[in-house]
Structure formats: structure tokens, C-alpha cells
């Protein structure tokens, strides 16, 4: 295949858009924690740009997208980008340079690791986080990316659909977040119901805005071409984000007042849910997908809070459950009229597709929880996952990074 300039331009722009989502996550999470932990929270995401940005070109891309080994993992042929060059790949995104596809996928790996951090902010040791993230990318992310998107991956062959990462990004991050939070344990004062007041809600909104903006690259870019399918995914994405934001706003209004924090959260829930579906469903399906996502995520967050689990920034409730709903919704609303490479869903008479989606969800839930738990446990017994009590009280900005977010002569 020859290189198509429009497709290449769109995929490179999309890669840059997805890159911007990671600082977006940093600000989204950073605004929600207490004043003394702003920088450590932001740093967890930003450090991933450095860490995974390296690991991906060294071996991550090869494990995920290298020539298939038994449907489970990619081979080592692309180690250090060997043979990944300016010519298109013969199997992935065949109208753009292989390097562009590799870069686009790398941004997904980065943001997925960054998403997990929301579970353990304000208490996880930074050194342990770096080690855990390296292990997690290698042993959890790369195999699952191969199963779902790799040529020859077993879920891909089975026909489980995941357009832009409902399984690979959101379920994986959300369920792993739950496992890691259960190992790290709650923040000091969480059980005593000490107020954990967000330090900067405008920063949360800025982060949510960058995420929403970047998500166009994430979802519409996943068309891997710049034509009609990208446009369809783009509109579906915006519609679901709008439906999610509006629905959460109403839910919080019914409860008491329409909050900024809730509306921003609803947008992210809608975006997470439309991710696997964006290029398989007609754009208007963004409405039911976004509305139901907000309702599910809202009540899962309530459930999580009532169970006394300190999965601090609700990665599971928003990304895990939003992603789960989205993957199942793909099995309900998908249509070959939108994307011939997809399938028909339940409402178009193909109940089997929903079963395939359900299988993908179940397998990845179990795999993500179990393997993350084991990896976390290994890091815990060897180097410890948590900072000590004094470091936690002082705050991780000073104890882990020797900086503080808000300077000034006093305070």
C-alpha cells in the first residue's frame, strides 16, 4: 500500500491530541487532591510521559503489535523499532507510515498508565510507582493490547470489538486501579471521614477540557484514516460526552446543586463509554450511551464511597464501569452500515456480538485485577508501596519531590 497524505496528517495530529490528554489527566486529578499533594499527583501522570515514552519504543510496541505469538503476545521483531520505519506496516494502518501508527499507539499506553494513578494518589511512594508502572505496562498492558488490537490477538480473532480502547484503556485502568487501591490501603483520615477538600476545581475543569479535546484524536484518530469513519466517530464522541456531562449535572442537581466537579466527571464518563463504540455505532447512539454511562458511573461512585473503599479519584467507577458499559453497548448498538469492518449488534439482530463483548469484558476484568494485585504485592513486599505516616501527613509534594505547588513568602 502507498502512503496517503491525508491519513498520515490526521494520525500524526491525533497522536499529538492523545499526548495532550496525559497532562489533562494530571490536571484533572491534580485539582481534586488536597493542597499538599497537588504536585505529586500531577507528577505521577507527567512522569509516565517520560517512562512509558521510552519503554514503548524500546520494547512495548513490539510486545503489543509485534508478529503474533499464539494470540497472546507480540514477538520481539520490533524491539527498538527495528523494521518500524517510514513505510506502512503490512497489517496495521496500511496507508500511513508504520512510525505514525507506532507513535499513536504509544500515546494510548502512556495515558492508560497515567489513568491508574488516580487510585493511589496522596499516599503511594513515587519510587514504588515507577517500578510498578514498568511492570504493569509490560505484563498487563502490552498483552491485553495485543489480544484486542494485535494482528492475530485472540480477542480480535474472536470478534470482540473495541474501537479505541474501552477494554484496553478504560477497563484495564479502572479494574487495575481497584486492585492497586485495595493493596495500598486508604489515605490517613479516610476512615475517620476527615474532609479531603479538592484544592482547585478550575484545574479539574481545565484537565477535563484537555481530555475532551484530546479524545477527538483518541476516538476519531482510531479510524486510522481521515474520512467518513473518523467524522462519524468524532460526532459520536462529542455527543456522548455532552450527554454524560448533562446527565451528571442533572443527577447532582436532583441531589442538591448542579456541581462543576460532577459535570466534568459526567463528561469523562460519557467519553470513556463511547470509546469502544465510537467507530461502530451511528453518531446519535452517543446519546443513550452517554446518558446511561453517567447514571451507572454516578451510582458506582456512590457504592464505592459507601463501601468505604478509598479508590481515591474513582478510576474504577468512571473509567472501569464507563468502559464496561461502552464495550457492552457496542455489542448492542453496533452496525455494519457504520463500519463494514465491525459487526451488527443486538438491536440489529445479532445477539452473538453482545456475548463476544461480554466475554472480552469478563476475561480482561479478571486478568487486570489478578495480575495487578500480584504485581502490586511483589512491589509491596520488596520495596513498600506506601510512604510512611509522617511523609503522608506532611504531604507528598514535599516528602517525595521536595517542592510545593503554591509558593509565597508565608504559608
Amino acid at each position: 500500500m502507498s502512503i496517503n497524505a491525508a491519513d498520515t496528517a490526521w494520525l500524526l495530529v491525533s497522536s499529538a491530541l492523545v499526548m495532550l490528554m496525559t497532562p489533562g489527566v494530571a490536571l484533572f486529578y491534580g485539582g481534586m487532591v488536597r493542597r499538599k499533594n497537588v504536585l505529586s499527583t500531577i507528577m505521577m501522570s507527567f512522569a509516565v510521559l517520560g517512562l512509558v515514552g521510552l519503554l514503548w519504543v524500546l520494547y512495548g510496541y513490539s510486545l503489543s503489535f509485534g508478529p503474533d505469538k499464539g494470540g497472546i503476545i507480540g514477538g520481539l521483531d520490533f524491539i527498538g523499532l527495528r523494521t518500524v520505519g517510514q513505510e506502512p506496516s503490512s497489517v496495521y494502518a496500511t496507508t500511513v507510515p508504520h512510525l505514525a501508527f507506532m507513535a499513536f499507539q504509544g500515546m494510548f499506553a502512556i495515558i492508560t498508565v497515567a489513568l491508574v494513578t488516580g487510585a493511589v494518589v496522596e499516599r503511594m511512594k513515587f519510587s514504588a510507582f515507577i517500578v510498578f508502572s514498568t511492570l504493569w505496562l509490560t505484563i498487563v498492558y502490552c498483552p491485553v493490547a495485543h489480544w484486542v488490537w494485535g494482528s492475530g490477538g485472540w480477542l480480535a480473532k474472536l470478534g470482540t470489538l473495541d474501537f479505541a480502547g474501552g477494554i484496553v484503556v478504560h477497563i484495564l485502568a479502572g479494574v487495575s486501579a481497584l486492585a492497586l487501591a485495595s493493596l495500598v490501603g486508604p489515605r490517613k483520615g479516610f476512615r475517620e471521614k476527615e474532609p479531603m477538600e479538592p484544592n482547585n476545581i478550575p484545574m479539574v475543569l481545565l484537565g477535563a477540557g484537555l481530555l475532551w479535546f484530546g479524545w477527538f484524536g483518541f476516538n476519531a484518530g482510531s479510524a486510522l484514516t481521515s474520512g467518513g469513519l473518523a467524522s462519524s466517530a468524532f460526532v459520536a464522541t462529542n455527543t456522548s460526552a455532552a450527554a454524560g456531562a448533562f446527565t451528571w449535572m442533572i443527577l447532582s442537581w436532583i441531589y442538591r446543586r448542579p456541581t462543576v466537579l460532577g459535570t466534568a466527571t459526567g463528561a469523562i464518563a460519557g467519553l470513556a463509554a463511547i470509546t469502544p463504540a465510537a467507530g461502530f455505532v451511528s453518531p446519535l447512539m452517543g446519546i443513550p450511551i452517554g446518558i446511561v454511562a453517567a447514571v451507572i458511573c454516578y451510582y458506582c461512585m456512590l457504592l464505592r464511597t459507601r463501601r468505604g473503599i478509598d479508590e481515591s479519584l474513582d478510576v474504577w467507577a468512571v473509567h472501569g464501569m464507563g468502559g464496561t458499559w461502552g464495550v457492552l453497548a457496542t455489542g448492542i448498538f453496533a452496525s455494519v452500515a457504520v463500519n463494514a469492518a465491525g459487526a451488527n449488534g443486538l438491536i440489529f439482530g445479532n445477539a452473538m456480538q453482545l456475548a463476544k463483548q461480554l466475554l472480552g469484558v469478563a476475561v480482561v476484568w479478571v486478568f487486570a485485577f489478578a495480575v495487578t494485585w500480584v504485581l502490586g504485592k511483589i512491589v509491596d513486599v520488596t520495596m513498600g508501596l506506601r510512604v510512611n505516616a509522617t511523609e503522608e501527613t506532611v504531604g507528598l509534594d514535599i516528602s517525595q519531590h521536595g517542592e510545593r505547588a503554591y509558593g509565597g513568602m508565608l504559608r
Binding site: 471521614k193 474532609p195 479531603m196 477538600e197 447532582s252 441531589y255 442538591r256 446543586r257 456541581t259 466537579l261 460532577g262 466527571t265 454516578y298 461512585m301 456512590l302 464511597t305 474513582d314
Partner: protein, 112 residues
Amino acid sequence: MKKIEAIIREEKLDAVRAALQNSGYYGITVSEVSGHGREGGLILQWRVGEYKVDFLPKLKVELVVLDEDVARTLNAITSAARTGEMGDGKIFVLPVENAVRVRTGEEGDNAI
């Protein structure tokens, strides 16, 4: 000389400042403080549900007045800062040993 420390509602600052000016005092120091009296804390909303903040934002107005002006000043602040609801604040009066005007070196009542 007496020092007057008044903890007031944030939204009452303009009214208090105007009342103090009308009673002849122009120099005040204002700071943002947090605390609670009998009214307790403040309920705010999280992404779902609520949480309680124990300390409410208030302003502390400080000024030093001549002994004979204390009653008049207290009256000015009280009537300007009052809403009648819980949380209107409190005023404390403290003795002051001396005062110095930095520019001229004047001391005592002359420095106020």
C-alpha cells in the same frame, strides 16, 4: 489604647469599613481567616454526595483605637456586620501597651 479584633462575615467588609470611616478611623488591617463558632462547619458537594468542612472562611479586621472611642467603634462594627443569623462573628477588645508610627517615630496616642 485598645486593640479591636473583629471576626466578621466576608460579605460585610465593605459595610464595616464604611462604618469605621464614618466614626473617624481610617487605618484597618484585614486578613482572611478560617474558623467556626457555634454554627459549626459547612457542607459542600463532592462528585457524588457531600463532605463537611469544619472551618468557614471569615475576615478578621484589626484596628487600634483610643480608649474613649472603644464604645463608639464597637457599636459601628456591630451594627454594620450584623445579619441576626448564626455566624455573624465576634469582637475582642485587648489592651495595648504602646504604638509607634514608623515614619515619624511618634509614640502612644499620637501614633494612632
